[in-house]
């Protein structure tokens, strides 16, 4: 914002100052020129669709009949609030988030603490934990369908060898979501681990040395040095993990199609089906507005409770 020139001040400026101003104006023009493509893209692909979604939420709009669009006021919202499937999807999304966020961040933190030590092969471990993150979720989801196969799946073969009865996993409504949670944590924890690792390496060695001289043990160091120093990183990681978790789509889309008995139907999947498969773009828009408000609310609450310290 500092780059923006203030015409009022430029008028009153003395000569050398004025030439400085014109130099600054040139600079700010260059700045705008650089920002321009990004701003255009943001407007076209973020702001416009966002505003469109709000507007379309008040209409009946069949994707295949754009001419027949009609304004129906709050009808979509009233319908959504009576849609059992919407509540089921909302519940599933929240269930996933509430479990995944603490578990995934906890696992990531433990992994980060482990690979931050001067272990032998620590780079190998870092790569091993991070590699699922860079693999496409679609590929991973398909792989895990095989792992979870109730008959010949690798996991069931393992359970069988250990004398534990085989599990239906994705085939059972009480296990499907938990199975998705397990693989999601495995897939994404490496990402949070990397951020934690960066945070850990920013903590000064001196503090550990000083505390060691004072007689602090490893656990006390963790409690009184590592965690407080990481506070901002933890807040950041919790926020992004929550937002990612709420958007859960790919795993249920590929692995279960929302089943069995809607036990893995999430809000994102609900919106996708309504909008693109059933072509009810108006209804889907209204649902996505509600979805947006929920995410916004969660983020605000988290900010309030986490940042105010």
């Amino acid at each position: 914002m500092e780059i923006v020139s203030h015409p009022a001040r430029a008028e009153h400026g003395s000569k050398p100052a004025a030439s400085l101003r014109s130099g600054k104006r040139k600079e700010s023009l260059t700045g705008y020129a650089f920002v321009f493509p990004a701003v255009v893209l943001l407007i076209v692909f973020l702001l416009v669709p966002f505003l469109l979604a709000i507007a379309l939420g008040f209409t009946k709009f069949n994707l295949l009949r754009p001419e027949d669009i009609s304004f129906i006021g709050l009808r979509n919202y009233l319908d959504i609030f009576q849609d059992k499937l919407f509540y089921k999807s909302l519940f599933n999304t929240m269930y996933f988030t509430v479990i995944v966020v603490p578990v995934q961040c906890g696992v990531a933190l433990i992994l980060a603490l482990l690979v931050n030590n001067a272990l032998p092969f620590r780079n190998m471990f870092r790569i091993a934990y991070f590699s699922p993150v860079v693999t496409s979720m679609t590929v991973i989801a398909i792989l895990w369908i095989y792992l979870y196969n109730p008959n010949e799946g690798l996991i069931n073969s393992l359970l069988d060898a250990l004398g534990i009865p085989k599990q239906p996993f994705l085939r059972d409504k009480s296990q499907a979501m938990n199975s998705i949670i397990f693989m999601s944590v495995w897939q994404a924890a490496g990402y949070q681990m990397m951020i934690f690792l960066a945070g850990l390496q920013g903590i000064s060695r001196d503090m550990y040395e000083a505390s060691a001289i004072d007689g602090a043990g490893k656990l006390q160091q963790l409690r009184y040095i590592t965690l407080p120093s990481l506070y901002n990183v933890i807040v950041f990681v919790l926020m992004i993990t929550t937002i990612q978790a709420v958007k859960l789509f790919t795993q249920p889309f590929i692995m279960t199609n929302g089943g069995p008995e809607n036990s893995t139907r999430t809000l994102a999947l609900f919106i996708y089906q309504q909008g693109f498969q059933f072509r009810n773009a108006g209804y889907a828009s209204a649902a996505s507005v509600i979805f947006f408000l929920i995410v916004l609310l969660i983020s605000l609450l988290m900010r309030k409770f986490l940042k105010d310290k």
Binding site: K60, N62, L63, L64, R65, P66, D79, L85, N149, P150, N151, P168, R171, D172, K173, N257, G258, G259, P260, E261, N262, Q273, F276, Q277, F278, R279, N280
Partner: protein, 433 residues
């Protein structure tokens, strides 16, 4: 491994096409850049991407058309990628919104009503003679007709039959039926499965894609029982999909899965490897059987309900004229060309699917003998198209979800009630007049 080797070049090809899609569309087969200069009417034609003989068929037929109509009509064909099963439909949806549909458009059979009710398609009745209409097998007319008008012609047909392992049948002294009046009932099929399912061999094998297959294959069990999953006029599903006869059909499927007579997470080649005694599949499976020389296979009819009617699934990709076309007459010429007897024979051979015209079978003598005779009989006499309703996208999704749940042990009545409720409220909200 074979598949993996295929995927890499295909993926590269796809990304190349995507990178220069503007050009790729124009340079595809049949593109004759200077045709418009000669005063010919330019038509565009979209179809889903294919490979091998199917792709060759399209290229050759379009080329032949352009030659035959040189100076009059010239067709540019664009093969649209089907990255996942909805990529093609997504492109159509986008083109609808921007009025950039091609003149001639390929569409999946069960989508005809949805497209027709959205006024994307032009009726074809005035372009086809009575003889033509009588030559198409009945399910093609049924699939392409919405509210009394004919909108799209199936390029080929399809069918689901029951394959069986001859050696296993002999071992158990089972003689599969070879004439329609002796076709197996569900109970007889169940007995066959019961007898043959042991020692890691399943009674039957079938695709279990949790998607379109469920509606395609199993709606027929409702029809066989004398009902359907929606009413004839398409206005309601209550009392149909969840009516007593429907519940009976779903309970039969649940019984098969509960007694583990088929593998709910099947390997696609169970039957070929001798791990399943029968297989509910289609003509598209036959070319693959060659890779298993030890397999002796036969074909029998899609099982019917005891006392019910014999029926079989049908439907495949169709072709129609878009409402955006400025040249419907010329487009009709092309649609007629792509669905005439010669094309019908050509595509049927290219994709190993039954032909959509009765006259095509005269040129394919292999369909006069067993085992293919069974497919021809089903296609030309008893097959039924999927429900012709504008709310089909929701219907098929919900029905597939319900059947998947039922096979996994879900409550039959509750699952089917959900389909009926979802369909009825969708129809009322968006399609009732």
């Amino acid at each position: 491994m074979k598949k993996l080797k295929m995927i890499i070049p295909v993926a590269i090809g796809v990304s190349l096409v995507a990178g220069c899609s503007g050009e790729a569309g124009k340079t595809d087969a049949g593109g004759n850049a200077d045709a418009s200069a000669k005063g010919a009417v330019q038509l565009t034609y979209w179809r889903p991407q294919a490979s091998g003989p199917e792709d060759d068929f399209y290229k050759n037929r379009v080329e032949a058309f352009n030659k035959a109509y040189e100076g009059k009509i010239n067709v540019k064909m664009e093969a649209v990628t089907r990255g996942n099963s909805f990529a093609y439909e997504d492109k159509v949806n986008a083109a609808v919104a921007s009025h950039t549909l091609p003149d001639v458009i390929a569409l999946d059979g069960p989508n005809v009503a949805n497209y027709a009710s959205s006024k994307i398609l032009v009726p074809l009745d005035s372009y086809f003679t009575k003889d033509d209409m009588n030559d198409f097998v009945p399910s093609i007319i049924q699939q392409g007709t919405y509210e009394g008008k004919f909108y799209a012609v199936g390029m080929q047909e399809s069918s689901v039959v029951l394959f069986y392992n001859k050696k296993m049948m002999k071992e158990h002294g089972i003689e599969p039926p070879t004439s329609m009046d002796k076709a197996w009932t569900w109970d007889e099929w169940y007995d066959v499965m019961k007898k043959t399912a042991k020692d890691g061999v399943f009674g039957t094998n079938m695709i279990n894609d949790k998607g379109e297959w469920m509606t395609y294959a199993f709606e027929q069990m409702w029809i066989s029982g004398g009902t359907d999953i929606v009413s004839k006029d398409g206005k309601t599903a209550s009392g149909y999909v969840n009516g007593p006869k429907g519940i009976e059909a779903a309970q039969f499927l649940q019984k098969l899965s509960k007694e583990k007579l088929f593998n709910i997470d099947p390997k696609p080649t169970e039957f070929e490897e001798g791990k399943a005694a029968t297989k509910l599949g289609g003509p598209w499976n036959i070319p693959g059987f060659k890779d298993y020389p030890n397999l002796e296979w036969g074909i029998t009819y899609f099982p019917k309900k005891a006392g019910g009617t014999l029926t079989a699934p049908s439907g495949s990709w169709a072709i129609g004229i878009s409402a955006d076309s400025k040249y419907p007459k010329e487009a009709a010429e092309f649609v007629k060309w792509m669905t005439n007897t010669e094309s019908s024979v050509g595509i049927a051979k290219a994709v190993s699917m039954p032909a959509s015209r009765k006259s095509a079978y005269e040129k394919m003598p292999e369909y006069n003998e067993l085992p293919l005779k069974i497919i021809k009989e089903q296609v030309t006499t008893v097959s039924h198209a999927r429900p012709v309703t504008p709310a089909y996208p929701l219907l098929t999704q919900k029905f597939a979800e319900a059947l998947t749940d039922i096979m996994m042990g879900g409550d039959v009545k509750k699952s089917l009630d959900n389909v009926a409720d979802a369909y009825d409220s969708e129809y009322k909200k968006n399609y009732a007049k």
